[in-house]
Symmetry: D2
C-alpha cells in the first residue's frame, strides 16, 4: 500500500498535478517500519478497510506541504487493489521460479525415463504398459500449460477515485493513470475496475488451475509410492533442522516415522495436495465475488482480500512442495518392471489382439484372446503359455510373433513419439 501511495505521488508529480518535492517527501515516508500494523488494522474496522487509517498515519509523518498531497485523487479501493496486484506481481515471480524448476524436473524425468516401462493404469487398474517418461511428459504438459496460463494473466493498476470516474483528477486523470501503471510495472486498464472484477477472478482461476496441475503430479507420486506399488519414493534425506543427537521422541527423517521405521511418507506430495485444496477454496470465493454492486461493492470486494492472498500463498506452497518432491524423487525402474508382471502377461493382451486382428478381423481376434485371458486368469497361469497352447491362435501367430506382441519394451516405446513432442514443445517455450 505504501509503494502504491508513493507511486501515485510520483506519477502525479510527473503529470504536474502535485509538486515534485511533495512526491519525493511522500516516497521517503513510505517505509513500512514506520507504521503500526496492528493499529492500522484496528482503526480500519471503522471504514471497513485500512486505507483511510494508513493515509492518516502517512500524512502525519509529513510536513503539511507534502502531507496535503498524499493519496491525491485516489479512493481507498485504488490503493487496496493496486497493492494486491503488487503482492501478486512479487509472489508470481517466486511461483514462476518454482514452476520453472518443476517443469525442468519433469522434462528431465521424461528424457531419462522415456524408455523405462511401467504400467499405465486406468481406474487404478493396470491397463497397458507405458513408460515413466511418458507419465512425466504428461506432468510436464500439465504444469507447463498452467504456468503459461498464469503468466498470461495481466496485472493492472487501479485508479478511479471516489466513483471510479477519475473525476477529481480532472483532465489529467488518464495521464496520471498511465504514469501510475508504468511506475509500478503494471498494465494500464481501459477503465478503472472497482466493480468489474474479471481480472481478479481470472487470476484466482489461473492459480487454481496451476495448483490443480501440481496436485495431479503429487497424487500420482502418492499412489506410486504406496507400499504395494513402490515405484517412486520421495527423498528421505534428513533436513538440517531435524538433525539432532537425541532421537528419542520425534520425527527424525523426512517422511519417516520413528515408530513405523519402514514408512517413507510422501510428505511433499501430501503438502502439495493440501495446498491445492485450499487454493480451490480461495478461488471459489473470488469467482463468487464477481457480482459487485454499483461503483463499489458492499462485502464482495472485501471478501477478495484474503482469498487472493491465500490463493497466491498456497499456490506457491504447492509449487515449492512439488519442486522438492521431484528434486529428490527416487525412481525404482526395477519395481516398475516387476509390477508389470503382476498380471502374468495380461497387461499385454491388447497388443496380441492387435497382432491377431490383422489376420482374423477384430471380432474373432478378440474372441480368441479373451478366452485365452480367461483361462489364464482362472488357472493362474502365464498368458504366454495359454497363447502358445491355443491352436487357433497358433495357426495365425508364430511363437516369435507372440513374443514380439508380449514384449513390454517394444510396446512401451510406442509412447516415444509423444514424449518427444512434449519435450520439443517444452524446449521451444522455455
Amino acid at each position: 500500500m505504501l509503494d502504491t501511495e508513493a507511486a501515485l505521488a510520483a506519477a502525479e508529480a510527473k503529470a504536474g498535478v502535485v509538486p515534485g518535492a511533495a512526491a519525493e517527501a511522500i516516497a521517503g515516508a513510505c517505509q513500512a517500519e514506520r507504521f503500526d500494523l496492528e493499529a492500522l488494522g484496528r482503526e480500519g474496522r471503522a471504514a471497513a478497510n485500512p486505507v483511510p487509517a494508513l493515509v492518516k498515519a502517512l500524512t502525519a509523518e509529513l510536513p503539511d506541504e507534502a502531507g496535503r498531497f498524499v493519496h491525491w485523487g485516489a479512493t481507498s479501493q485504488d490503493v487496496m487493489d493496486t497493492a494486491a496486484m503488487l503482492v501478486a506481481q512479487r509472489t508470481l515471480r517466486i511461483v514462476d521460479r518454482e514452476l520453472g524448476s518443476v517443469v525442468a524436473s519433469c522434462a528431465g524425468l521424461a528424457e531419462r525415463h522415456r524408455a523405462t516401462p511401467m504400467a499405465g493404469r486406468t481406474l487404478l487398474q493396470q491397463a497397458l504398459p507405458i513408460t515413466f517418461g511418458f507419465k512425466a511428459s504428461l506432468w510436464l504438459a500439465g504444469v507447463a500449460e498452467a504456468r503459461e496460463r498464469l503468466a498470461g494473466v495481466e496485472l493492472a493498476a487501479q485508479l478511479g477515485g471516489a466513483a471510479g470516474t477519475l473525476a477529481s483528477l480532472g483532465s489529467q486523470g488518464l495521464t496520471v493513470l498511465a504514469l501510475f501503471a508504468e511506475q509500478l510495472d503494471l498494465a494500464e486498464p481501459t477503465l478503472p475496475s472497482h466493480t468489474v472484477r474479471g481480472r481478479v477472478a481470472d487470476l484466482g482461476s489461473g492459480l487454481a488451475l496451476t495448483a490443480g496441475a501440481l496436485e495431479k503430479v503429487a497424487l500420482d507420486v502418492t499412489l506410486l509410492s504406496q507400499t504395494e506399488v513402490g515405484e517412486l519414493a520421495e527423498s528421505s534425506e534428513e533436513s538440517d533442522a531435524a538433525h539432532r543427537a537425541e532421537p528419542a521422541a520425534g520425527a527424525k527423517r523426512r517422511g519417516g516415522s520413528s515408530t513405523l521405521p519402514h514408512k517413507r511418507n510422501p510428505v511433499g506430495s501430501v503438502r502439495a495436495i493440501a495446498c491445492a485444496r485450499r487454493v480451490r477454496g480461495e478461488a471459489s470465493i473470488l469467482l463468487a465475488a464477481m457480482a459487485q454492486e454499483h461503483e463499489r461493492a458492499a462485502g464482495a470486494w472485501h471478501a477478495e482480500w484474503e482469498a487472493l492472498a491465500g490463493a497466491l500463498a498456497y499456490t506457491g506452497g504447492a509449487a515449492a512442495a512439488v519442486r522438492e518432491v521431484l528434486d529428490g524423487l527416487e525412481v525404482r525402474a526395477a519395481r516398475m518392471r516387476e509390477n508389470l508382471e503382476l498380471t502374468g502377461g495380461l497387461v499385454l493382451a491388447e497388443p496380441v489382439s492387435i497382432a491377431l486382428r490383422e489376420r482374423l478381423g477384430r471380432s474373432d481376434a478378440h474372441r480368441l484372446i479373451e478366452a485365452a485371458a480367461r483361462r489364464a486368469l482362472a488357472a493362474g497361469r502365464p498368458f504366454r503359455d495359454e497363447l502358445l497352447d491355443d491352436e487357433e491362435i497358433r495357426s495365425e501367430l508364430s511363437e516369435a510373433e507372440i513374443d514380439r506382441a508380449l514384449d513390454v519394451d517394444r510396446h512401451a516405446s510406442e509412447a516415444a513419439a509423444l514424449v518427444e513432442r512434449a519435450l520439443r514443445r517444452y524446449r521451444e517455450r522455455r
Copy 2:
C-alpha cells in the same frame, strides 16, 4: 496441542498406564511460552505435521522418567484433531455469546417494532406492508436456529494410535479414551475417526449455516440503508481509536468518509458479508475433505486445519460485526412510512382486492382492481382516488370500507401473530 498432551498423560495416569508423577511433570511442561512456534512449524514440514516436532521439544523439556511417557500410545493425528476441537470449543463459546447478543437484539427489535409498518419487498420491489418487527423476527428465527444447530454439533476427542485401533494401549485403550475425553470436556467417540470426518465437516457446515443466517441480516441492513431507502442506518458513533485532533486525512467516524460527508456506510454489515463469504469457502474445503484414504489421508486431512480455523474465526467475525450493527442500529420509522407511500397506495392493492372478492369472486374483483391500478399508474394519481371514482367498485365497497382496506397499519398488523410466535419460541429456548 500442549493441553492435549497434558490431558492424555493425565488420563493415562488415572488409568494406571503411565506414572502419576510423569503425568504431573508433563502437565507442568506444557506451557506454550516454552516453545518456539516458528521452529516447530519449520521442523513440521518433514513430517507434514507439527506434532512430531512438538513431542520432541516437549520431551526435551522433561527428565527421562517423565519424557518417556510423553504422547504415550498416541499418533500425531490424535493430537492435531483433539487440539482442533479444543480450539473449536473455546471459539464456539465466544461465537455463541455473540450470537446470543444478536438474537437478543433481534428479539428487542421485533418487540419494539411489531407495529412499525414498512414495505415488504419481493425481488427488491415493494410488495405489501409488513412491520419492521416482523422482519426482525425473521432475522431472529434464522440466527436462533443456526445457533441451536451449531450448539448441537458434538465436539469429540480423538485417540486411536498409529492405525486408529488403540492397539498400543492394549486393553486399556477404551478406558484411556473415556478419561481423555472427560478430561477435556469433549465427547467420547464410538470409534476413533481419523478418516471418518463427518463431525468436522458437520462443524464446518454448521458454521457456514450460521454465517449465512448472519449475512441475511447484514444484507437487509445494507439494502435498507441505501441513500434512496434510508430506513435503517448503522451507528456513526466515533470509535475511541479514531478520535483524533487532526481530522485532515483519514477516516474520522464509523462508516463515514471525509470526502463524502453525507455517507453513512454500513461498515459492520459489509464486514459481516465479507466474513460469511470466507466461511463458505472454508466449509467447502471441509466438505471436500471427507473422502480420506484408508486409516490416514494423504492431503485431505491436512487441508482441514486452516479451513476449520478460518471457518471458526470468520464466523466469529460475522457474529461480532452483526452484533455491533444491531447494537447501534438507527431505525427510521418515519422514513419507513414515507416509503410505503411511494406507490400512491398500490402497495395495498391486494387488501382491496381481498375485500372485493368476497362480494364479486376473485376473477371480477381482480379485474376491477387491476384496471384501477393501471389507471392510477398511468395517471400518476393516488390509487384511492381511482377506487373512489370507479362505479363498479363503489357499488360493492363504501368509502369507509375502501379506507379500511387501504389502512397500512391495519394491514401491517396482520403479522403480529407471527411476531408473537417467534418471540415466544425465542423466550422458550433462551
Copy 3:
C-alpha cells in the same frame, strides 16, 4: 406443485376458508398428466417461476366456483418451496433405504471380518495391521452417522402469502398453516421462511455429508482394488442388459473391458465418487443462497431449485452405487495377509518396540528397534531375523516374546473391542 395446491385447498376447506366442494374439485384436477410441462416452463419465464402459469392452467381446468379458490392466499414461493420439500420427502425415503442397506452391509462385513488381518495404511503407506472388519466398522460409523444426521433434517411446509405474513388469510392464517403442514406430513414452521433458508441449506449440507461418507467407502474400495493391492474386487457379474450372444465390440461384463480382459474396474465406486463430487457442487450453491434479500430473493432463491434436486438425486446415486458395490464385494483375505508380509515384518515394528519399552524405556527401545529395522531394510532381510540376531534386544526379549510381538493376528485383534462398539451402536440405533 399440484399436490401442494390440492393440500392447500383441503387445509383451507377444513379451516372453513374455502368451500369443501371447491377443495374437492381442485384435488380432482391436480393430476400431472393434464398439464403441458413444456408450456408451463416456457410461460414461467415471464414470472421467473412456473407457479403463475400452473395456477392459470389449473384454474382453467375448473369451473369458476372452484377455480376461484385455487392457490387461495398463497404466493408462488409457497408452492415452489413446499413442492421442493415433497420431492425431498419422497427422495429421502429412497435414499434412506439405500443407506440402510449400505450400513447393513458394512455391519455384516465388520462382523464377518473382525479377525481378518489386513494392513492399516496411513498416507497410503502400510502402517500397522488392522482387520478388515475394523475398516468396515469405520465405514459403518461414517455412513450411519450421516444417515442419522440426514434423518434429523426437518422438512417443513411453506405458507406465507405475498409478503410472508399470511395476511391474506386474515385470522385463519396460522390455522391453515398447521392444517396444510399436517396434510402433507411436513413440519409446521414457526414462521414462513421465504428468505430464511437455514432448512434448505441444512438439507443440502446433510446430503453433502452423506455423499462424503459414501465417497470414503468408495475411495477405499478403489484403492484396495488396485492391481497391486488386490484385496477387494467389485462384482463382475454380468448385468442382464449386457448379456448378449455377440461379445465382439462392447462392454460385456460389469467393470470389465473387452480389450483389457484382466481388468476388474471398480465401476460402482467410480460412480459413487462422481456423484459425491456433484452433490458438493450443489450443496455449495445452497449454502451460498442463504443471504436472500428482504421478503423474497432476486435470484438466490431461484438458484436453489435445481441445486436441491441435484443434491437429492446424486446422493441417491452415490448411495445406490455403494450399496451395489458392497452387495457384490469380493473380499480376498489371503491377499490381505500376503500384503502384510511385503515389509518383511516391519509393519509390526511398533508392537516389538512396545514390548521392549516396558523393559528399557521408550528411548532405548526405540533406538534398538529403529536400528534393527534399518538393517533389515538395507539388507532386504526379514525383520524377525534381525531382531533375533540383535544381542541387546535378545537380552530383554525371548524368541517367543518376539514372535508374540510379531504375531499379525494377535495385533490385528486389538481392534476387536472397537468393532464390537461399532456393531453395538449400530444394533441399538437400527
Copy 4:
C-alpha cells in the same frame, strides 16, 4: 459421440488405417435417431460410461466388414472427451452470439447515455455523480473481456487409446490424431490429456468468469429497478405465450403480478443471477476434478460430464437473460436526476472541496466543507445554502464558482473520456 466415431473413422481412412468404405458406412450409421438413449444409459452403468454400449450398438448397425473398424484404436474417454468438446463448440457459438448482443446493447447505452447523470454509489450509498453511460461502459468492459477470454479457450480433440499413448495405432497415431482434430475443427493437442485436465477446467473457469460478468449487469439492474430507486425497469411487454383472454388467475405480463399490479419484477435479471450461481457450482466441480489418477481417473473425470454441460447451458441462460433485459431496458433519466437531489447537494461535496483546496490546501478545505455538510445534514437544508452562508468559504469561492462546483452535469461529464475509451476499445475488438 456419433460425430466423434464418424470423424475418427474418416480420419483413419484418410491415414490408410481403415478402409474408406468402412469409414463411409460408419458415417452413414452415425445417426442419433437410430439409437435408444435410455438403453445406452442403462447399459453404460456396467462400464461407468456409455461408450462401450454405444460402440456395441453402432457395430450392430453395420455389416462386419465395416463394424469391425468402429472405434478403431480409441478408448471410451477419447469419445467422451471429444464429444464434450463438440458440445462446447456448438454451445459456445450460441453463447458468443448472445454475448455479442449484450456488448452491443451496452455500447449503445454507453453511447446514448454518456451524458445522462446518475448517482455513483459505493457500498450502496450515493457517492458522487456519474453518468449512466459510464456505468454501461463498465458493463461493456466486463462482458467484452469475459467474451474474449472465453473465445480464447482452445477446444482440443482427444485421442490416446487405452493408456493414452496412441499405441494401438502404431506409427500412424500422430497422423490420425491430426486428421481427426482437423475433421472436427478442434485443436490438435500436443499430447492426449486423459488426466491432464487444464483445458476442461479452464473452459469451466472461462464460463464462470462470463457468468460473473453478466451477473454484475443483472445485479445492477435489480438494484436500479427497486421501487425506491426506479431508475431502470425491465420491459413489461407481454410475451405471446402469456397473452390470453382470461386474465383471472395467472401472470399476465412479463415481470408483472396480478395481485401486486404496481410491481415490475426484474425477472430477466433474476434468471441471469440464478444461472450465474449455478455456473459457479459447476465450475468448482471442474476445478476440483483436475487431480486425476494415473492414466484415467476413478471418479473425478466422470464428475466432469454434467458439470461441463451445466456450465455451458447456464452460461447460455445467463447471457440470453441479460440480452433480453438490455433489449427491453427502460432508462428513466429524469428519475436518475431526481435521485441525485436526495442528498440536498451533498453528493457534490467533493467537487466543492476540490475547488477550495486549490486555494486553501486540502486540510483547511476539507475542514470547512465537512463543517458545512454537517450543518446542512443537521438542518435538512440545501448544501448550497450552507456554502453561500459560510464566510470563510465565500472569501475564497464566488457564488458562480460554487454553482459551477455543484453542477451535476459538469461533474458527471468527467467520465466522458472513459466512456470514449471503452467504446473505442469495443469498436476495435468487434
